[in-house]
Symmetry: C2
Subunit: 347 residues, 2 copies
C-alpha cells in the first residue's frame, strides 16, 4: 500500500488548543497508525512532547519529527499582537515549515484569529483571492451525506466579488476531493423580502450566473441540511452564525433526548434496551467526525481544529489535512480560477 506519491508531511501546532500536547500528540499517533504514508512534524516544546512519544513503536516513531518552538499563542491573545511579537510560536513555526517546503500542510487547534492572520502573512493568498475563507463539511440529508459551507467566520463583511471567490474555491475543493464533475453551488439567502436578500448577494448572484460554474441559485438556512447542493456560500458573519446555531440545536436536541431516556426507572430500562441504536445515532451526529475546517485561499494547506477538540476530533483534522495536501488543493483552486476566467459564460 506504500506509494511515494501518497507520502505527505504535516506540521502540527502541538501546543495549540484548549489542552495542547496531551490531545495533539496522541491524535498524531492515532493518525500515523491509520495512514502508513503519513509523516508528522510536531512543533512546540520538546520537553512537553518527547515524553508522550516515549512508548511509541520504532517504526511509527520514525515518521515523527519534533521541531522546537519556544512560544505559544494564547487562545484569547489579540491576533495582530501574536503575529508581531511571537515569532517563535508553535503556530508560526509550523506555518514557516510549510512556507519553506518542509511540510505539505499545517494543522492547529489554536486561536482562530491568530491562525488566520499568521497564515495569511506567512503563506500569502493565492492569485486573485483577496482573503482566505474558512470552509467545513456539514452533514446533509442529500445522498452524498454532506455539504461544504463557507465562509465560517474569517470575513465578517464581504463584497460580492469575495463571495464569488468563495464559490470558486468551494467548487475547486469539491471537484478535487470528491470527483464531482460540476459541483452545485448556492448562495445562502433569506426568502421573506420582496427582492430577496441584500444588494451584495444579488450582485454575487449575477456574477456567478455569468461564470462557467454550476451556480444553482439561492437557498435558505434550512436548505444547508437538505438541498441538493455541494457548496453553500455566505459571508463569514452569516456562515458562522448558521454553523454555531446548528451546533447549538444539535446539543439541545441531544440533551432533550437524554432527559427523555433518563427520566425514571422505566425510561432508563428503555434506554438500556435500545442502547446500540442510540449509540449508532449519536455517532452519526458526532461533531468530532466533522472537525477540521480548511483555511481556503492560501498558498498552502492550513486546517483549523476546534480549540476544544479531543484526540478523535484532532485526528480527524489531521486526516482532512492529509487529504487536501495529497491533491494539492491550492493549485487546483488556481487552475479553476484561470479556467473560469478564460471560458465564455454558459448559454
Amino acid at each position: 500500500m506504500h506509494n511515494a506519491a501518497n507520502n505527505v508531511r504535516i506540521a502540527v501546532d502541538a501546543m495549540g488548543g484548549d489542552v495542547g500536547v496531551s490531545v495533539t500528540v496522541p491524535a498524531v499517533i492515532r493518525a500515523l497508525k491509520a495512514d502508513a504514508d503519513l509523516h508528522m512534524v510536531l512543533v512546540g516544546d520538546p520537553a512537553a512532547i518527547e515524553p508522550l512519544l516515549a512508548r511509541v513503536p520504532a517504526a511509527l516513531r520514525a515518521r515523527v519529527t519534533v521541531h522546537p518552538a519556544s512560544e505559544v499563542v494564547g487562545m484569547d491573545e489579540v491576533p495582530s499582537k501574536a503575529l508581531r511579537l511571537k515569532k517563535d510560536s508553535s503556530m508560526r513555526v509550523a506555518l514557516d515549515l510549510v512556507k519553506a517546503g518542509h511540510a505539505d500542510a499545517m494543522v492547529s487547534a489554536g486561536n482562530t484569529g491568530a491562525l488566520m492572520a499568521t497564515a495569511k502573512f506567512v503563506l500569502k493568498t493565492l492569485p486573485k483571492i483577496d482573503r482566505p475563507a474558512i470552509v467545513s463539511a456539514l452533514p446533509s440529508l442529500r445522498p452524498t451525506g454532506h455539504v461544504h459551507l463557507l465562509d465560517l467566520g474569517a470575513n465578517a463583511e464581504c463584497t460580492a466579488e469575495q463571495l464569488v471567490q468563495f464559490a470558486v474555491m468551494g467548487v475547486a475543493m469539491v471537484s478535487a476531493l470528491e470527483d464531482v464533475a460540476r459541483p452545485r453551488v448556492a448562495l445562502l439567502n433569506i426568502g421573506a423580502e420582496e427582492i430577496k436578500g441584500n444588494e451584495t448577494i444579488r450582485t454575487a448572484a449575477r456574477l456567478l450566473q455569468a461564470m462557467p460554474i454550476n451556480y444553482v441559485g439561492y437557498i435558505e438556512g434550512d436548505g444547508i441540511f437538505h438541498a441538493d447542493v455541494d457548496v453553500v456560500v455566505a459571508d463569514g458573519f452569516v456562515g458562522n452564525v448558521a454553523l454555531k446555531a446548528s451546533e447549538g440545536v444539535a446539543k439541545l436536541i441531544t440533551a432533550f433526548m437524554k432527559q427523555a431516556f433518563l427520566q425514571n426507572t422505566v425510561t432508563k430500562l428503555g434506554a438500556a434496551l435500545v442502547k446500540p441504536i442510540l449509540a449508532r445515532f449519536a455517532q452519526r451526529i458526532d461533531p468530532r467526525m466533522h472537525n477540521g475546517a480548511s483555511l481556503l485561499g492560501l498558498r498552502g494547506v492550513v486546517i483549523k481544529s476546534h480549540g476544544s477538540a479531543d484526540e478523535l476530533a484532532f485526528a480527524n483534522a489531521l486526516r482532512v489535512a492529509a487529504r487536501e495536501a495529497r491533491i494539492d488543493l491550492p493549485n487546483r483552486i488556481t487552475a479553476l480560477w484561470n479556467a473560469s476566467q478564460r471560458a465564455a459564460p454558459e448559454a
Copy 2:
C-alpha cells in the same frame, strides 16, 4: 372563569396559508374550545368558511363572526402589488378590522412580505420605531425553557439604531408576557475576528450599554439555545438564517433518528419498546408548538403563522395572538421606550 377584561377578539385571515380554510377554521374552533373568553372574526369567502362551521355547537358558534372579503393574496405574490391592488383581500380586511378597533389582534398564515407591507401600511409603526421586526420564542436549555429571537427576516439590513429598537421591543415583550423584571438581552455576534463582528454591531452594543436595560453583551450562534438570556437581537438576515438553519438541523437529526430506529426488524422492535419515550421527546421539539411569530413594533397585534401550519400549529398562533392582545403589547413597548429615554444610563 369568565372575566370581561380577558375578552379578546381576533381577526383571522381565513384564506391565508398553503391550505386556507380547511386548516384555519378547524384551528379557530380548537382555540375557542380551549379559551372561553376568546372571540373570532373569520375573514374571507363566506361560501368557503360557513360550511366548516355548520356542525359547531351554538354556544361556541356565538363567539364566531364571519366577515366577507372577496380577494386572496397569493403566497408568491409581490408584496407591493398585493398592497396596491388587493384592497379587499382577507389579509387586508382583517388588518382593517384591527385598525378600526373591531378586533384586538390579527393572525395570518399568508405571504410574509405582503403581511409585513400591508400591516405597516394599515396599522403604522409605534412612535420611535422605524420598522417592525419579526420575533418568535425558540426552545432553550436554560431553566425557562425558551428564548426570544428577533429579527427573523423582516429587515435584511439594519442600522445600529434599529437593533437597539429591536432590543427594547424584545425586552418589553418578555417583561410583559413573563413577569421577568429585567429581561436579559444579548446581541448575536461572531467570535473569530480580532475586533468582534462589524461596526453596526459594535455601535449597537455601545448604545445598549448606555441604556437602562439589562444588556449582557454578545453571544454566538450556539448561545441562542443555551445562554442565560431572554432576548437575542440580530438583523433580519442573520436572524432568519439562524432560525432556518436550526429548523434544518432539527429535521436532519429527526431523520437520522428515524433511520436508526427503522433500520431492521430488531431496531424496529426497539422503537416499539421505547415508543412513549420517543413520542414525548418528539413533542418537545415539535416546531408546531412554537408556531406564531409576532410582527413587533406595529400599532396593533399581528401574528404570522407558518404558511404550512396545520390545525395544531395555527391554533398555537391564535393562542399567541390572544396572549399579546390581553397585555396590550404595543402600548407596553411604547411605555418602555419612554421610560428608557427618560431614565439616566446605568452606572
